[in-house]
């Protein structure tokens, strides 16, 4: 049953699913062309499972993504929804067929401790319809590492650069190429890193023009944005040229 009849009078399907404690926005896919997403933090395992099922039923032809899932929730999802794919590092679950990727997003990370954020960005980008290339552990204290992958940076349709501590990597990468670049500060660090604030401020003040920033540890937001940019830049489906090293839900070493 819909709550807003006057806005969708010409459509047959309800735009909102009212579960009492929640009001799912079923109209979003139509408005924005994207998948539905469940933000799992602060939701009980049972609620996440119910929302995953409801959205999958409402959009059987689309993939549904759930993020920030606790250990307990990932366990219940695995037991309850056989079709769910769990990524233990990204802490995500996906249900439904993945879209055909268009365009390529390259994710670059400064250190191995940034892995959970990198994986969340990777899964999200795939779910939102772009292919992904990942380059890990090329922090600025060893410049030859990032200089050695310059070509992979320049041929991307959009870059996601993930870094904690002093957050300098986006400035260096942003100076090497003119590809649109989204910076993700991570909470990696201690003391005066203030849970990622140091990196966030550094990225907001980058001297490399054209760097944009998302919230601390927000691999999801970066993935959504980068996929949208990449899809527009390369509207045709990507041939499976470079096998992206990422989508299988491998049990990568938790850093």
């Amino acid at each position: 049953m819909t709550d807003s009849p006057q806005r969708n009078e010409a459509t047959e399907v309800p735009s909102t699913l009212d579960l009492g404690y929640a009001r799912l926005d079923l109209d979003r896919a139509r408005r924005t062309g994207d998948a539905e997403v469940i933000y799992g933090a602060g939701k009980s395992p049972e609620v996440v499972v119910e929302l995953l099922r409801s959205l999958h039923e409402a959009h059987p032809d689309k993939v549904v993504l759930a993020t920030r899932l606790s250990d307990e929730t990932r366990h219940l999802v695995r037991q309850s929804i056989s079709a769910a794919r769990i990524d233990e590092v990204a802490r995500t679950a996906t249900v439904g067929e993945m879209p055909t990727p268009r365009g390529r997003v390259t994710i670059v990370s400064a250190g191995t401790s940034d892995a959970p954020v990198v994986r969340e960005a990777l899964v999200t980008t795939s779910v939102f319809g772009a292919s992904v290339d990942v380059i890990n552990d090329v922090g600025v204290a060893g410049l030859h590492r990032v200089l050695g992958v310059r070509d992979r940076l320049s041929t991307a349709d959009c870059l996601i650069v993930v870094a904690g501590m002093e957050g300098a990597l986006p400035s260096v990468v942003g100076g090497l190429t003119g590809v649109p670049l989204v910076a993700v500060p991570t909470s990696v660090g201690y003391g005066a890193s203030f849970g990622g604030i140091a990196a966030l401020l550094a990225m907001l003040n980058s001297c490399a023009p054209g760097v944009t920033v998302v919230n601390i540890d927000n691999g999801f937001g970066a993935g959504v944005f980068a996929a949208r940019v990449a899809r527009r830049a390369a509207p045709r489906a990507v041939e499976a040229a470079r096998p992206t090293e990422s989508m299988p839900s491998v049990q990568a070493p938790r850093s």
Copy 2:
């Protein structure tokens, strides 16, 4: 025995109850017309039970409210005071007869994770004597949801708008109606939300005129304020027109 004889010389009843470690302000109801409240955070289960009993005995004809009760405290209250009503989501207990509601407060929330704050506001508003209407999960990223409930907003006597993350909902609601509006920032969010500071700042800077704000997660304070406004706006008791979906202490899914 009273501590301040010179201020209440004309009254027979003591205005203060000295329990040694606490000094209950029994005069408050007379001064402000409102119920007594126990703030449970940082108090042992035994102390909360004793205070609930003492206040209920001192004001047998009024409802007494206790907020911010730990799991352990709610358990002991349930076992010790048979007449107590516990709300597991709001983390409150009430003892004594509820007042006849006057005026209507409408509580609007941005997301399902705001539920504990919404419930605390709901219970408090009821205890302070107004009826309540609750509209959940109408965040600004899906505007048709809030536009679809516009009439329920405009006919309230006071609005409580609860939101975490960027805290934008009060500005949107405040632009749709001239009803007095109290905004409650919640600690829902991560990274640069800083435990609710982002939402708090947004609400304090709302471009919609006439938005006031309470502390982060302070559903109680919003409820007290809104009930006082609603009671004054509608001094007669409310007929039981719209069954408020809230007062029974249902075990709503904990989000």
Copy 3:
């Protein structure tokens, strides 16, 4: 004379111009495909004029942009370089032929006080090669204003959303469309807006997925980024369909 012979050994032209107090990066255009820019804050009028001339001579076929120019500097540029175009609201100067625009960037602002940031974004976007559509003063406290321009939002290649105070507009716009969206917080506000921090935090915490953010008042950074996205999305030159209302350096009322 070049400072880094090993990196440009195959090219004849020097990659760095050493003026003693400055070391211009003449290689940037080759690396990133973009124009040269002079950040004018903290530079004397004479230095800005010299840098504008040097860069224009080094890249006679490209446009050169100078930003954050003081009144005094704009005055001297106007007197010294007859080919310079000054924008009094954006506080910018440009010299050299503008590029043919590819793709369209739509800039949306919440209030009239955001005008200087809007204009800086507008000039920058044009200099970096995209066409621009501007929609002013559609703050969230009057939702019908932004709902009324929904179509112009959805057909853009990239959106720039500029807002001060509580910074809620990007969340509302981001919920209406799936176009990539760059949010620019402005220092418009007072008290607990803390010079734009409230808006910045709100935007970083936006509940609309896929919102990225630049520094406070950084219309320049948003323009660079958005132009890069738009150019990739629409690689062919834009026909002059909608006359963008902006590029002439009109003396718009200073808000």
Copy 4:
């Protein structure tokens, strides 16, 4: 010409006035029942005068308020619009007939340095349709001053309590009465008052239940809110019982 035809299809008048650099929300009065307001900070004197005239012409039967006017702007308004009333302490201008007041708002201030904020609240409350009673300079370091005006506090329909420095007055007043109370922190103070943050935090943490807060120095917001509460509490027009000492634009000593 209207921007949002679908929302006002039944009305003849345009809901938005597009001045190019501004988009006036002429529909607000219909939606919220309140006057139009111009926020003068960051607007040139000429723009403020034009906006005052445009709004007065659009709503000839309503009062229009402009706030935060610079010395220069107040001077130009006085010269250009003979019907304008200027308040030099509040830094406001009003044009058009004042509404008949309904209900009474009592404004209480801690110190004489809070006067500009008190006056802005006073003018705004009057413009938004409630009568005003002002009690100045009753800071908590001399309690007998506030205890001496207890009756005037208890008979108000809404209270506005203005204080800088440690911001303790709302807690004291809020403990004396159950009248709805809006607290306004001011930037009065030095050192660790941080331009009003100390007072703001104190008010947000008030131990007196039912205190709500607006932004630092935001007398305007408090006035809008309080007038709305008072009008609802006392829907009939107020007889001219207590002559409010405030509305004439006297040249009160600038503190």
Copy 5:
């Protein structure tokens, strides 16, 4: 063995006791006339026991105080040093004979949740040689409580005022009397109280002249200071007039 022979050449006793990992300042009592104190936070139970014993042996005629003891440490001290007196609320231990009290310190607290800080102040004041009078739970939201104890405030030699949340009590007490007043902010509160910062700022900005402040939850520092002031004000020993309700290490209800 002493580390600084050149400074104490005229004295026989070593001024420093070097335990390898610690260097006890045995000279302090001579310099300042006060007892030795062990700050227990971050020290292992074994270390605290060893330090208590070493200091008691070095100064057998003085009382030694240990503060901020964990549950585990208090347990070990109780088992290991039979002469130790433990205060479970203050989380302190004392060994050795208490000094004869001179002068009286009155400790006033705003709420029952401030009890651990109050008790730490109480124990410290006694150890540093003044008698103590405690007045609990007289927060400013019920002014008659503090007004009712005015005489006890005015006859003290020094006041310690303990409050969390908005920290308004010192301003009110400081306005009622000219007795030197030390304010102690506590971490009681939530949301925008920021672990006591709100109360700390309020106290630093108190409009009552002559209020000084110590660190958040620093009952110890307030006790040392107040005892020094009281001892000087009343150099003769205090007769046991008013039985202070505090020194016995009762198991007061933990709030």
Copy 6:
């Protein structure tokens, strides 16, 4: 005419002087035994002069103090009130006979740039009835300077220690003596001193027990407090032993 008849029913004199824009607390002297004070910041020269006159007339036998006077205000006071004593460094004015000093306060400063705060403390201490000894420029980077004045520190009745930058001096002085010590952070410094916050935090965290703190640059508050402590410690008038180098309003070099 008095505003609070019920509190002063036994007294003939009014406790409050209502000037319209201000409500002077004439009862304070009776409650606290201290002089009246005018806080000059944010008050016009005319208002300061009127308040000085009113208070002097109300208490002809007491000294009245005005602090934080602008250059303009000091000029007008000098011209208007012939009996006024102006201190150009402290930025204060005093009118009326100074009290006979009891007890001695020693003021210690870290650097010459702290002079205005030192002088404000000096004048205030004298006005509040204690004699003053000043020791300037003994910062911790040259320890022999403070060690050389150890005796003058130990014989004081109360110490005021003034320091900016890292604010270390109170810890060093507090370790040398057991005299009650009030620390005053100053806004001297730059960069990460944040206008005195670094010094304030250092003083709040002093490892020397018994250090209390006042607001940044608050020489006035420190003076009130220290005078109260010193007067109690030495209730008899001080013989003119050490000529305090301070009270004459010399034109000390402005640092």
Copy 7:
């Protein structure tokens, strides 16, 4: 296999070891002359063991250091790598032969609670090739302790001064000697110490010229820097004159 062939074309050995999730910078020793280091925070025990082994194999003639190891990780390292030396207080592990020390670093600490940071600095300094002298617990509240070790301070090649709380020790030590001094703020303290921010700010604002600062609790960074300075100052190997009391991995009492 190397990632950056163009930068090391003349060398046979790969400069980067790609473990998939990590990209070890094997070139660093060549560039900077220093050992390899593993930052253990946020890495699983298995990963730390693998990295230790890989680096030890790549550089069999050098010592490898791992820092910030959890209890669990230290346990696994001890079981898996028999040649590893564990320091339980510093929370470090080292594998491989220690370098011959050149120059001497003296580490000074303010309190016993700073021990973990002191030990991390000690181990790091030794690993980076300088000898170490440690002076513990000489906080500024007992100046004779630091004055008593003045000679040991002045003969060092570089000083590391470790302090929490108000962080005053570097200013005092820096005033006593002209030896280069690195200050390390620690998170020791409570309340307004804000996890070491108070000490950090104090050190950044030190009035003693020539004090530099590292991050809160960053004993590692201080050790690297100080060892580099000391090695340059004393290029010949240090004779084993003063047995440094530190290098054996004793089970020092955990403070």
Copy 8:
């Protein structure tokens, strides 16, 4: 006349010069081996001139440095002390013979706007006895600039790296070489750079080991420290090999 006879009993010369408002530490040169310095901020021109003269007379064979001189002060120094050398960019004055330089400090800056801080560091380093090499404008957004000067970095005895905005340069330089590196954050930037805090935090969190930091804009502190390190590393005087481009007080373009 000396204030601390017991510490200098063996020396004839006074260790402290008491000017009344200041107490010059004449002993510092003996303790630390360095020149005297006058911090000019907040001191009147007359005072600076007097202090320069007094110190020059007390140490005729040493150079005296004054920093942070206002335009007015520099003007008066130039007129009053013919031997003074003024640096208009560094805002310094020096009097007396410069020491023979030992060791070399290389100063690297990210942008031309950092020039005043670079010059203050340059002058200070020279005054404290080391030679200086300056490399300007090699920010990380154009890496080839810093890579092109790699050899000059590696052969220095100590590095000073100056950067504003995101403060990334020290991490990049620190990864290229093992030379001791002092980072100086500058207040260059806007918005969320917060006057240099972003750069300061980035530098404190640098992933390059062995980076130490001084206060924002503190070129002086960095110069003192670096000179001390360089002098120890190269105890013999430096031959005039590379003409440092800096010491003459040229009128460099003010950026």
